[in-house]
């Protein structure tokens, strides 16, 4: 089989991601490595959003809540470990083998009731209800003084993996995030092409018809919502480790908006697109203000004036976003 444009694009992307730590070392810019890890973490969250947004047609405007909850799972257990206190009789821990799965579980358990209520609606009401739930959780964490309230929880150390990789090392953390992102992509790829995925895509196309065919549609959409919540929770655990911090701002609606922008920018319903979207948004956020400040000091504050037209252009002229541009508009 001759190599197709999408498969070449994928291989180039993978090689670039694998080579980044070496590149950062060669440039003597450890900052690139941290930025790369940040991109991978947000990419994981964006991919989980694409699963429900791109394939299930569920425009969740509160996806950052699940990321934040995953982050707080890490932060809260760290805080209890740090001061030796207990949570419901359990000691805190930094063991990643325990904490990271718990972050996924927390994301899933939060997504279950939120999804069950939100999915009674579709369209704009669905957007507003998911937004409302996320803001409720944002204010809850802001008010929760035990875990820092507004100030959040600062982590002194990353999660530990006894007998496993030591992610305190930036390079090892980077490759751990990369491995998990690839695993999440493969999982989502299987899911969207399975029987379950077909039901999800059918419901996006025509929900009424799906019911008439005999599908209890809401049940399947809810399952997808919960899977996305779990993956976002894992993203949150990674984010907490990447920044060594968790705070309410992780749950803020503007973060949910960023995730939607990443998905749209990269290509809705392409899974790999949101990875590009996350990279593009974070790189723009990093370098455009800097460049603008060179032109005129203080101008960088208004960098979104550059982001806006780019986003608009992609939405208008490239239906499949950046991935469509890279891999050809007929790419899956």
């Amino acid at each position: 089989m001759p190599p197709t444009r999408p498969s070449i694009a994928l291989i180039v992307l993978l090689l670039a991601a694998l080579a980044l730590p070496a590149f950062a070392a060669w440039m003597d810019e450890p900052f690139y490595l941290r930025l790369g890890a940040r991109i991978l973490v947000f990419a994981l969250a964006a991919v989980s959003l694409d699963l429900i947004l791109g394939f299930g047609g569920m425009v969740s405007f509160g996806h950052a809540a699940f990321v934040g909850i995953g982050g707080y799972a890490v932060g809260i257990l760290f805080a209890h470990q740090a001061d030796g206190s207990t949570l419901f009789g359990w000691p805190g821990t930094t063991n990643g083998f325990i904490v990271w799965p718990l972050a996924m579980l927390a994301g899933a358990l939060a997504a279950l009731p939120i999804g069950a209520i939100s999915l009674r609606t579709t369209g704009v009401p669905f957007i507003m209800i998911t937004l409302a739930f996320a803001q409720m959780l944002f204010y809850l964490m802001t008010g929760l003084k035990t875990y820092g309230g507004d100030d959040g929880v600062a982590l002194w150390s990353r999660s530990t993996f006894p007998g496993g990789p030591d992610i305190a090392d930036h390079t090892i953390f980077y490759y751990t995030a990369l491995g998990l992102l690839i695993a999440a992509l493969l999982l989502c790829w299987r899911v969207v092409n399975s029987r379950f995925g077909r039901v999800l895509r059918g419901a996006k196309d025509n929900e009424r018809r799906m019911r008439a065919l005999g599908y209890p549609v809401t049940r399947y959409k809810l399952a997808a919502f919960v899977i996305a919540g779990a993956l976002a929770g894992l993203g949150g655990a990674l984010l907490a480790n990447a920044t060594m911090f968790v705070g309410p701002q992780y749950l803020h609606w503007s973060r949910s908006g960023d995730l939607i922008v990443m998905v749209v920018l990269g290509g809705i319903g392409t899974l790999i697109g949101p990875v590009l979207g996350a990279a593009a948004l974070l790189l723009l956020e990093e370098f455009v203000p800097e460049a603008m400040n060179l032109v005129h000091a203080g101008l960088g504050e208004h960098w979104k004036i550059v982001l806006g037209p780019i986003l608009l252009g992609l939405v208008l002229f490239a239906r499949k976003g950046l991935w469509g541009v890279v891999a050809g508009s007929r790419a899956p």
Binding site: N206, A212, L213, V217
Partner: protein
Amino acid sequence: MTAPPLLETRALVKRFGGLNATDRLSLSVAKGELHALIGPNGAGKTTLIGQLSGELMPDEGRILFDGRDVTALPVHKRSQRGLARSFQITSVFPSFSALDNVALAVQAHAGHSFRFWRDAARDRALSDPARAVLERVGLGPRADTLASALAHGEKRQLELAMALATGPKLLLLDEPMAGMGPEESARMVELLGELKGGVTILLVEHDMDAVFALADRITVLVRGAALATGEPAAIRASAAVRKAYLGDELEAV
């Protein structure tokens, strides 16, 4: 002693404000028959289909299907019991191929779909029966075409194929000839003629030629109530039906 009807409504009432869109309607469709439902615009055909399929809840009365009361059952459960419908306005999955549209219908009746890993496109338990149904409605050569790229008449055939693929006991067909040209209509009449007898059909249709060519029995719906039910010849001869509805359309038959 005749067999109990496959589908029965008992004194069904649906009100919209002061209007009785369905007015104490009692209707029965016998197993194996092709029963046509006709009536002028505003007679309540669409409202009735909504209630039979489960999208609308009646205000009074009962709906019995296959010997059980289904009045309170949601849409998907009625479909699971064997009540399949087609839509008046073409309602296929535009981003799926014709084959995958039908495969999705097959899958709906092949156990639950909480199967997350295996590639459904390579699942012959879905694609083989789907292909067979496509052949049956004459869409075999168009299997790999995107549904959105099909001609109008082909979409109507696909609509029927999807209903058939669920292996229904009763087909509820809402104006299958809507918007079709004469040739496409003739093909659809031929197709329905082939299906007749094998599966029970309740046909709502404006095309009088088709109705009188196909129906075993006809019910005339006027202002939400059954004005008459009978064999085509009796309906044609009924003075009341002529007066209420058929008028010059019947002269042309």
